[in-house]
Point group: C2
Chain length 348, copies 2
């Protein structure tokens, strides 16, 4: 039970081999739990490694084996509710599988996105990649393919890549359908800008779902009612202020995310406009705060999507020939206190 100085960071596989009286090959096999080693040998090796405070050199290991045991995740943001939750669940699953996560945030910058692909930042550095919520362009898909590792997408799809997402189009249809079902005819939209240089998937799909739901209800679209925001609380505030200033106000507003809805609600309160009496509001997400604020929304399972993406990648690593799967998680309408039928004789 003698333990060498704890600072023994320096021991190499050769030191362990020497101490255990075996070859480095046997040390490698023993420590990785491979077959073809007698129990006696393995025990001696393990003990020697412990005594020397041996820690494998990941660089050497990956140079030789070609595996890094690391997975990169590319995310537009990390300090936003959706991304934090999805990322947390993703990392948790991977950590349990003894894999590491390399975090690469775009911080909302198209330039960072360009650099990531142009400078081959991920090349040979990871065994797999997760891309969050970005609609990939062809050259990006090509660049990812050149990495020659499994790729998974969360929140969007692309042929040949694993993907997990909700049906954003359907979720938006559900939300707006709830509003039309209540009798609303003049329905606003607060959504991500289709012109956002980062090209997020959700805003495009959700806006399309909004328009489609209106059409299904026989309601003519009115571009004036569609206001661009940036998926932040502040953006929701500004957008709702704009909507409130319209000559003909909407009687209900579909907001593409709960966080923007929080901002919208805030403006309403300050303006003395009551929800749902004067104006109905529905979001998407089922953010932790939504229950608190009593916001009607379409809930999506966020952590589940992150975990599913991790499992897909794990399976792909296990069997490189596995066909890319595409999983769509369910959403559900959660009716709370911010939606109701319009007041009769509405349309202020």
């Amino acid at each position: 039970m003698e333990r060498s100085d704890a600072g023994g960071t320096r021991a190499s596989i050769a030191d362990v081999a020497r101490a255990a009286g075996v070859s480095t090959a046997s040390v490698s096999r023993s420590l990785r739990g491979l077959g073809g080693v007698s129990e006696g040998t393995r025990a001696r090796v393990v003990q020697a490694a412990l005594d020397l405070g041996y820690a494998i050199s990941p660089g050497a290991s990956s140079l030789r084996s070609g595996r890094t045991r690391t997975i990169a995740v590319v995310t537009p943001f990390i300090d936003r509710w959706f991304f934090g939750r999805a990322l947390g669940a993703f990392e948790s699953v991977l950590q349990q599988a003894d894999l590491h996560v390399l975090l690469h945030s775009l911080h909302g910058s198209p330039e960072a996105r360009r650099r990531l692909f142009a400078e081959r930042i991920l090349h040979r550095r990871v065994d797999a990649v997760l891309i969050m919520c970005l609609k990939l362009e062809q050259h990006e898909i090509d660049a990812l393919r050149a990495l020659d590792v499994p790729v998974a997408l969360l929140g969007s799809h692309a042929a040949d890549f694993f993907s997990v997402a909700i049906d954003d189009f359907a979720a938006a249809r559900t939300a707006v359908g709830h509003l039309t079902g209540l009798g609303h005819r003049r329905i606003g939209l607060i959504g991500g800008s289709p012109a956002d240089p980062l090209r997020f998937t959700a805003p495009m799909e959700r806006r399309a779902g909004y328009r489609d739901a209106l059409k299904s209800a026989g309601i003519a679209g009115d571009r004036e009612l569609e206001v661009d925001a940036d998926y932040t609380i502040g953006g929701g505030e500004r957008a709702m202020t704009r909507l409130l200033g319209l000559p003909r106000r909407p009687t209900a507003v579909f907001v593409e995310s709960d966080e923007m809805a929080f901002g919208a609600l805030r403006v309403l309160r300050e303006a003395g406009v009551r929800a749902p009496d004067d104006l109905s509001i529905i979001g998407i997400d089922d953010h932790e705060m939504s229950q608190l604020i009593d916001l009607t929304t379409v809930g999506q399972p966020v952590a589940e999507q992150g975990a599913a993406a991790a499992h897909a990648l794990l399976a792909a690593l296990e069997d490189r020939s596995r066909a890319p799967s595409r999983v769509v998680h369910p959403t559900r309408l959660i009716i709370r206190g911010t939606t109701a039928a319009p007041r009769s004789g509405s349309a202020a």
Copy 2:
């Protein structure tokens, strides 16, 4: 301008050397921008690397140089406001310096924490480490030292490590001082549990600050008024429910985080207890939502702390002999609408 097949992931430094008609040594020097290479050579090498789609092998490079260009961040959570914001700023600075971030979350698990240190998960894998908000035990400090790389702490301190934080004790004193200054004498606390196995720094310091502020105001402490919660919205709700059920309610409550305060406020609203008329509430953080909700709080600069930690590590990497710095960021009282003087003849 001829470009070989874009899938050329395989080119090695030897291939580039051959194509450029130079040695691998010159390729290495040219591509890393080192001196001692003629401009003509460098140009030819760069062009050859481009043509071949060369990407360096990080494993080989780090095996030889001992540098990984990667920094690990160990965080208790990633899907919480504070951690997401700090992490985002930290990663952003590092990315600009062409370094990578390895994300290791504890997911609130003491077992994950134990494993991290016991299994030497970070050994030789990173050039530096950031630890978020954990009060380190001696054996953990020893383990980190054995890594033989610069270590920075965010939200706590330890001798010999870089650190950046706010003064949690002082922040709590400021918050409670605001309450006593308003005339409150019966002041509750909603705080993290001192028994939390993860041993966060903030709850210990903030509770101590609370007690100290009471003492300074000549108010006898009452343990019944100190309720443990878990820094979540739900925890804030449960804690406030408990406080409301007390025979002698407090007239004001200091909540150790804004998120818990949101929950507390929610319970108040449902119970028909008005803030600040019936009960004052003050938090710590200045969360994005706090302005929205009009919560009085003590603001702390979160992104700034993350960025400062990154810069400290960058400087340490630059000069390994640099003495560990310890920076304390300022906090400031932000008076909004949830605090006021107690009603005369209060103490319900």
